[in-house]
Symmetry: C2
Subunit: 117 residues, 2 copies
């Protein structure tokens, strides 16, 4: 289920891309499963089809989906995406940890925080 947050400053198509990526990575949308059609999703979210198309084009560009003209958009198979996302996650965490350390947070505090989750 996709919900648009109109208070969010980020553009709608970007929110859709991010939400779809999460659904795919968590397995909510399975490999080779068909994505909702451009028009139906636009109708469902009460937004313009062009906005959905922009989101879908970006998803395909990033390798999360593939499209067959006349048939629809489908979720890319394989776990390469998950591995890729893991690396991205790791890099983001590293960057934040670096920043935290710069202002005096210790390794121990961070580890303790993660252990307590």
């Amino acid at each position: 289920m996709i919900i648009i947050d109109y208070k969010d400053t980020r553009p709608i198509y970007e929110q859709i891309v991010e939400k779809c990526k999460k659904l795919i990575l968590t397995g909510a949308l399975r490999a080779d499963e068909q994505m909702p059609s451009v028009r139906s999703l636009a109708m469902e979210l009460s937004i313009n089809p062009n906005t959905i198309q922009k989101a879908y084009a970006e998803l395909e560009r990033q390798g999360f989906t593939y499209t067959v003209k006349g048939r629809g958009s489908f979720v890319t198979g394989g776990d390469g995406l998950v591995r890729q996302r893991r690396e991205e996650c790791a890099e983001q965490i590293r960057a934040l940890v670096r920043e935290a350390m710069e202002i005096g947070v210790t390794r121990e505090e961070l580890i303790h925080m993660i252990e307590g989750m």
Copy 2:
């Protein structure tokens, strides 16, 4: 030193706010130290003074600086800011860790990663 990245999609004033916050939190700009004047910084970065003013207003709104009319803008003292930023950092890390775990990364892997930094 502040450098504007024109490839960055974020607005200039936002980049300036973020950079100043980092300089303050890391101690590069010390408490009660005077910030560059709106006009001089605008000149230095070759951008409009209004853009600097917008960034400075935001910095003050977030409590990072205080201003005295006719004198200038100054860095806020105290370590309340650092504590606040620590909390923000922690929350961001928690969110990322949650996401990482959703796609199968284990606590142990994360902790090992941090220990190795």
